[in-house]
Chain length 413, copies 2
C-alpha cells in the first residue's frame, strides 16, 4: 500500500454513501470506537424510544400495553425485520432470550430430530459459548453424543452418516475468517446432518442469505452489529420445513399454542413462535428494533462494501507503519473474504490495547495476544481508521504500553 | 362486615405507614391499578435510571461500562438485594434470564442430582409455565421421569423415596392460596427429594424465609410485585449446600469459571454464578434494581400487614355489595393466610373485567371465569379499594358488561 494523503481520506469520506448514518448515532467526544462488534453504539432514536416504552407504554399503559402497544407481537415483529437482514422469510425468525439460550433450544431440538446419530461437529476456538452450550446440552441428553472439534478446513471431510449436527460461527469472533455457508450446509445435508449457524459476528455486518444457502438453523446476537444495546435479546432462525418437526426443550408459556388458555399441558405453538419461552424483555425488544430499523434503512451491500474498504485501509496502514513493532495480522489477508473486524497479534496485546483505550481508541483484547478492532460502516469514517493507526503507531513507537497502569487486568477484557 | 364510612377509610389512609411510597411511583390519572401482580407499576426512579444507563453508560461509556459501571456484577449485586427479600444469603441468589429459563436450569440440575429417582410432583392448575417446563425438561432427559399432578392438600402424602423433585408455586396465581413452605420442604427432604419453589407471586408481596425453611431451590419473577418492568429479568436461588453439586444444563459463557479466558471447555463457575448463561440485559437489570431498592426501603412485614388489610377490606366490601350479583370469592376466606391478590368467580368474568378496565379499574381475567385483583401495598390506598368496589357494583347492577365491546377477546387477557 502506498502512503495515503489526508486529502485522499477526506475524499473517501466525502464520497461515502453511508456517511449520513453517523449522525444517527450518539458517539462520545474524543473517542474512536472500534468495538462495535462487541457492543454496538447507541442509535439516537433508541433513547427516545426507550423513554416512550418506559414512561408511556409501561408507566401510563401498564398491563394494557400488551395489547395496545402490541408488546405481545414484538418477538415476531422484530424477528421479521431481522429476517430481511439474513435472507429469511419473515415467519422464520423470532427474537427471544440470549444467543446462548437460543443455541440450547436448537442444539437439543436438532439432536432429538436425528435420534440415530451421535456425532456432533464444531471447530476448536469457536466462540466459547457455542462449545459450552454443546457440551452441556450433550450432558443433559445423557452423554451419548460425541463432540468433535475439527480444524475449520477439515470440517466438511469429517461429516459422515453418523453426524447429527454441525455448529459453526459464520464469522470467527477472533480472526474474522468466514465459513462458506452454502458449501458446508450442502455437504452436511448430503449426509443427512443439520447445520446450526451462529451469526453473531455476521448479522448487520455482511449480507446473509440463509434461504439461498438452504440453511436449517441459525442464531444471532442483538448487541453487536445490530446496535440493540448491552445484553439485547437475541434471535433464532428455523427454516420453515423444520417448523413442525422441531420442538423446543424450553417449552415456556409464551411458546404455547394458547398461552392464555392456561392449560396444564404443553402444546407447542405452530411455527416459529414455539421457540419463545418466558416473557421477553419489552424494553430490550424496543431498543433492538431501533438498531435493526437503521440497518433496514441502509443497504446491506453498501455496508459490506464499506466494511471491506475500511478493513483494507486498516490492514494496509498497519502493515506499512506498525509491522516493525511486532504487530502481525491475524485472519484473512487483504483481498480475501472476511467479517467486519480486523485482528492483530502482539505479545503485549493486552497492555497495548489498554494504552489505546486510554487515548480514546477503543478496540478490545482477546486472550492470549489478540487486539481486535471492529469496523462498523454506519458510524465509522475513513478518517477514524487513519487516526486509530496514528495512535497505534505512536503507542508502539514510544512504548507507552509499558506504563504499569496498562498491565493491570480488568474484570472484563 | 359492617358498612364502612368514607371517614373511616380516610383515617386508614392517613395512618398508613407506607402511604409515602405511593408518590414514588408514576401512576396514570384516573386509573385504579389492581394488576400489579401481573405487571408492577413504574417507580419514578426507574425512568431516570434507565436514561442514565442508555445515554450515559451505553452511549458514552460504551464497552468500557462492563468495568466502569460494573455491569459485569449486576446479576450478583441485584441478586444479593433480592436475597434480603426472600430470606437467603447474598451469594445464594442471582438475577438471570426469565423465570421459565431458570425453572429449566433448576429442574434439570435437580433431576440429575437424584439419578435413581423418577417421580416428579406438582399440582394441577399450577402456573402453566411451571408445568410446561417440567414436561419439556422430562422429555429432554429421555422421558424416564413421571410427572404426577396431585391436589395441593395431598402433595405431602404423595412424596416417596422415589420422588426426585417437587415443584410448587408458593402463592397460587389464580387463588392466592399459600403453600406451607417449611412443612412441604421438610416432608420432601425427609424422603430425600428436593423442592423447587416458584416465588413469582410471593416475592415483594409476602415476607419469605427460604433459609429458615431450609429451602433447596427457588425461582421468581422480576416484573410483578418487584416492579422491574415488562419482561424484567428473573432470579433464582440455590441453597449454598447445593452449589458444588448442581450444574446448570445451560452452560453459557457468563457462568464459566473464567469467561474471559475463552477456553474450549466448559468449567462451571464456583457458587451461584454458574447459573448465569448468556449476556444479561443490562437495562433490564438496572430497572429491576430500582424496584427492588424500593422494597428494601420499606419493611416487608409492614407490606404484608397492609396487603392483608387491603384484602380483608376488598373481600368484605364485595361480599356485602356484590354477592347478590353472582360474584363468588375464590381462594382463602377472610382471616386465612393468602397471597397479595384477591380473585372472584363470575360466569361473565371476562366481560365484567373489560367493563371495569374501561372505567379505569384495572384487574385481569384468568380463564375460564376468574376476575383477579392484585393488591400492591406500596402504591394502593384503602380508598382505591372502596372505589374499585363502587365501580364493580355499578357494572354488575347496571349490567354494563353486556355491551358487545366487552365481549371481544383481546390477544392478551
Amino acid at each position: 500500500m502506498d502512503a495515503i494523503s489526508s486529502a485522499q481520506i477526506a475524499a473517501l469520506d466525502a464520497a461515502d454513501p453511508l456517511a449520513a448514518f453517523r449522525a444517527r448515532f450518539s458517539l462520545p467526544e474524543g473517542v474512536t470506537y472500534l468495538d462495535g462488534n462487541s457492543l454496538g453504539a447507541l442509535p439516537r432514536a433508541t433513547a427516545d424510544r426507550v423513554r416512550d416504552v418506559i414512561e408511556g407504554e409501561w408507566g401510563e399503559g401498564l398491563i394494557r400495553s400488551w395489547n395496545s402497544a402490541d408488546w405481545i407481537n414484538a418477538p415476531r415483529r422484530v424477528g421479521a425485520k431481522i429476517a430481511r437482514l439474513v435472507g429469511a422469510n419473515p415467519h422464520e425468525v423470532i427474537v427471544a432470550d440470549s444467543t446462548s439460550v437460543n443455541l440450547h433450544k436448537l442444539i437439543i431440538a436438532a439432536l432429538r430430530a436425528r435420534p440415530g446419530r451421535h456425532a456432533v461437529l464444531s471447530e476448536p476456538g469457536n466462540f466459547p459459548t457455542d462449545l459450552y452450550m454443546l457440551e452441556t446440552a450433550i450432558a443433559t441428553l445423557g452423554g451419548a453424543h460425541a463432540l468433535t472439534l475439527t480444524p475449520r478446513d477439515e470440517i466438511v471431510s469429517h461429516i459422515t452418516e453418523e453426524t447429527a449436527l454441525v455448529l459453526l460461527t459464520h464469522v470467527h469472533y477472533k480472526t474474522a475468517d468466514v465459513h462458506d455457508m452454502a458449501a458446508i450446509t450442502a455437504a452436511a445435508q448430503a449426509k443427512g446432518a443439520m447445520v446450526l449457524w451462529d451469526l453473531s459476528h455476521s448479522v448487520g455486518a455482511l449480507p446473509l442469505a440463509l434461504n439461498a444457502c438452504n440453511a436449517d438453523l441459525a442464531v444471532g446476537c442483538g448487541y453487536k452489529f445490530l446496535n440493540g444495546g448491552p445484553g439485547a435479546p437475541a434471535f433464532l432462525f428455523v427454516a420453515e420445513r423444520h417448523h413442525a418437526s422441531l420442538v423446543s426443550p424450553l417449552g415456556g408459556w409464551m411458546g404455547h399454542a394458547q398461552p392464555f388458555a392456561f392449560t396444564d399441558h404443553y402444546e407447542p405453538a405452530s411455527g416459529i413462535s414455539r421457540f419463545l419461552c418466558g416473557t421477553p424483555s419489552v424494553v430490550g425488544m424496543a431498543a433492538l428494533e431501533c438498531g435493526v430499523d437503521l440497518h433496514l434503512e441502509a443497504d446491506m451491500q453498501e455496508i459490506a462494501r464499506k466494511s471491506r474498504a475500511l478493513a483494507e485501509l486498516f490492514m494496509g496502514l498497519v502493515h506499512m507503519r506498525c509491522a516493525e513493532h511486532d504487530v502481525t495480522l491475524v485472519g484473512p489477508p487483504p483481498g480475501a473474504p472476511r467479517g467486519s473486524h480486523v485482528s492483530f497479534r502482539h505479545p503485549e496485546g493486552y497492555a497495548i490495547m489498554q494504552a489505546l483505550i486510554a487515548r480514546g481508541v477503543i478496540g478490545d483484547f482477546r486472550a492470549p495476544d489478540i487486539m481486535r478492532f471492529g469496523l462498523t460502516p454506519l458510524y465509522l469514517r475513513y478518517a477514524d481508521i487513519v487516526h486509530a493507526v496514528d495512535v497505534l503507531e505512536d503507542v508502539l513507537r514510544t512504548r507507552a504500553w509499558q506504563a504499569p497502569e496498562y498491565r493491570t487486568r480488568q474484570a472484563v477484557t
